[in-house]
């Protein structure tokens, strides 16, 4: 079977044709710094699909029935793990150790995460897996939402715990990006065409609730992990709860450039600057 797969998993899965449904994936856990648009530095821990630190955990795209051989290497100084509810459970991985598991993938949208603590997930050890239906050629875009309170990142990095009753984030990111970098992220900024369907997966990896509003269009909820009874709703504003995702579909009927943003308008700011947070646009060609 000929189909497409991204070698880096950071760009669309359209770059390299592969002939096998057997996929080897190596994820390595590193601690490092996430840079914000204003050059502020926040300590994070992430999974990387290369041998170097990545500022955000990668978006992993597969196809239904793929046989995945996943090796997770822990290059941090603390114990971590890797889990996908209902799909993969590698368990905990000691510092400097690695674990390999083989799994046959089932179509769906999943969150992968470090099950050892909510603090590690807050710091960045979670990401999105999309196992597409076989033959699904619909263009997809992906948003991993996350908010950041620098003082909390510093405290948690030093062994502290999260008290959400005091949570007051300062930065808001999509796929680890803030400011103009969001618009330069090909997986986040939506490019579409009139009369051509696109889909968007929004997954919330943060602690806050986000309320994503679309200008120009209502979108159809195809799948909603928080409440499946909401599937089929046609809306312009979508609550995305912590740990959950929404799969949305639109077929544009008019060209133009339309903003998409969190309508908690504090989340479109960052570091006291408007608008550097959860906002980008969809650009629809005639």
């Amino acid at each position: 079977m000929i189909r497409s797969l991204s070698i880096s998993f950071l760009l669309f899965a359209l770059t390299i044709n592969v002939y096998s449904a057997n996929i080897d994936l190596r994820l390595e856990i590193f601690s490092g710094d996430l840079s914000m648009f204003d050059n502020s530095i926040i300590p994070v821990i992430t999974y990387s699909d290369s041998s170097a630190f990545s500022p955000s955990s990668p978006i992993l795209i597969f196809e239904d029935g793929d046989v995945l051989t996943i090796k997770v290497v822990n290059s941090d100084i603390n114990v971590h793990g890797f889990k996908v509810d209902g799909l993969i459970d590698i368990g905990s991985i000691a510092a400097g150790d690695s674990v390999t598991q083989v799994i046959t993938l089932i179509a769906g949208i999943y969150k992968y995460y470090d099950p050892t603590s909510i603090e590690n997930q807050y710091l960045g050890l979670s990401g999105l897996i999309h196992v597409k239906e076989s033959g699904d050629l619909t263009p997809y875009f992906y948003w991993n939402l996350r908010e950041h309170e620098p003082e909390l990142n510093n405290a948690v990095s030093s062994g502290g715990s999260i008290d959400q009753t005091l949570y007051s984030p300062k930065y808001y990111t999509i796929n680890g990006n803030s400011g103009d970098a969001i618009d330069n992220d090909a997986q986040a900024k939506i490019f579409g065409n009139v009369n051509s369907e696109f889909r968007l997966v929004i997954m919330n990896h943060g602690l806050s609730i986000h309320s994503m509003h679309f200008h120009g269009y209502h979108l159809l909820i195809l799948d909603n992990s928080k409440n499946s009874s909401h599937n089929g709703r046609d809306k312009d504003t979508f609550p995305v709860y912590p740990g959950h995702y929404q799969l949305l579909s639109a077929t544009p009927d008019k060209p133009g450039e339309y903003p998409i943003h969190d309508h908690n308008l504090i989340a479109v700011t960052g570091g006291g600057q408007y608008h550097t947070g959860m906002i980008t646009t969809m650009l629809i060609a005639p």
Partner: protein, 389 residues
């Protein structure tokens, strides 16, 4: 000059695209209003009005149009300072009429800007300024927009939809007065430069239709109904907190639409959670009750904790409240004892829902064991509203 040219082009293209205009609405942008809270404090606000003489209020006037109408919003900016726009939230207008600076046009002081749209599916929508939107929306530049059925029928949710006897629209938001300081509101405007804003938002006032605290359950702001009426609620949120509208279970709340579209399946449940930018439309079925309480919770989207829980009152028009000034009932409000007669009389005190609290034969009564709130005192066939601090 560039803006004038763009506005002229907008007018030209708008007229070409939408042909004959069925409805034109003048909306005026202001930036020198004062909003008064329930505790006597006040703060400066921006806002929208329909005339130059009227007071700037939060929220702005509700715009009502009919399904299929070609609508022209004539936006006149009469406010020195930053320009403003009107974003037609949820109406799926084209880019030129979307009200987003940089992607369409903004309207400078004393200029008009024109927005054109074809009214989409009947339902509940919003409008607000999108210039420095975090600041200008918080400042008060927002309101509801309702699309009625194509024939303009007032008691029908959409063409061939479900009828009702009465409707109420509730638009929730909050106010953090820090964001209303002149240094924030009178910001420099350069669309090429970042707009500096406070790093956090911590509301002191949680409002519905601009009302907070005791204003929400003041009889002047009761939602009056008749027995056995079917009521349609338009529930919206344009704040920076989440909101839960919690109805009494006896009303059998049934939510049928969100964001201006019918739900594929009705949502049954007394609690309707509305996040920023969302709208829901909900049927309530009243019976013979004299009143009903609507609890409105604002919850922090970061801590997920409830920041305010306030009550609004549905009140049956068939139940009268006697003027307290006609008798000697004092002190009211009270911390404990309330006196209501020179000689002992039969009396009973209920909560606002009619649930019995205290009954007796006396010249006075102690309310010390009752929680703070509004109660009804009945003596000699008359009903009086009393308040326990």
């Amino acid at each position: 000059m560039r803006i004038l040219l763009i506005i002229s082009m907008s007018l030209l293209f708008g007229q070409i695209a939408f042909g004959q205009i069925d409805y034109t609405k003048l909306i005026i942008g202001r930036n020198q209003g004062t909003h008064y809270f329930h505790d006597g404090d006040s703060t400066r606000v921006f806002g929208f009005t329909e005339t130059l003489s009227e007071e700037t209020k939060i929220p702005g006037p509700t715009i009502e149009v009919n399904y299929g109408d070609s609508v022209k919003i004539d936006f006149w900016n009469v406010s020195q300072g930053a320009p403003h726009t009107i974003h037609l939230h949820g109406l799926d207008v084209d880019q030129q009429n979307d009200g987003v600076p940089m992607l369409s046009f903004e309207v400078e002081h004393m200029l008009h800007g024109y927005y054109y749209f074809k009214a989409p599916h009947p339902g509940t929508y919003l409008y607000h300024c999108h210039v420095g939107s975090t600041v200008h929306l918080q400042a008060g530049m927002y309101g509801l927009l309702i699309v009625r059925p194509s024939n303009g029928e007032m008691n029908l949710n959409w063409d061939n939809g479900e009828s009702y006897d009465r409707e109420f629209s509730l638009l929730a938001s909050e106010i953090d007065t820090v964001w209303h300081n002149d240094t924030i509101l009178d910001h420099e405007h350069d669309p090429m430069m970042p707009l500096m804003v406070p790093e956090t938002f911590n509301a002191q006032y949680f409002v519905v239709n601009g009302l907070s605290g005791s204003q929400l359950n003041d009889p002047a702001n009761y939602m009056y109904f008749q027995p056995n009426e079917k009521v349609y609620m338009r529930l919206a949120n344009l704040g920076y907190y989440g909101v839960r509208y919690i109805f009494e279970s006896a009303l059998n709340a049934r939510t049928v639409a969100s964001d201006g579209r019918p739900l594929p399946n009705e949502q049954l449940g007394d609690t309707i959670e509305v996040l920023p930018g969302e709208r829901y439309e909900t049927f309530l079925q009243f019976g013979n009750q004299s009143s009903s309480i609507l609890t409105v919770e604002h919850f922090n989207l970061n801590t997920l904790e409830v920041s305010a829980s306030q009550e609004m009152v549905f009140w049956s028009s068939s139940v009268g409240i006697d003027e307290i000034s006609s008798v000697s009932i004092y002190p009211n409000p009270t911390d404990d004892l309330i006196y209501f007669s020179d000689s002992p009389v039969d009396y009973d005190i209920t909560d606002i829902t009619g649930k019995a609290q205290i009954k007796g034969f006396s010249k006075s009564s102690s309310l010390s064991r009752l929680p703070s709130g509004i109660y009804l005192l009945r003596i000699e066939g008359r009903t009086y509203r009393i308040i326990k601090n």
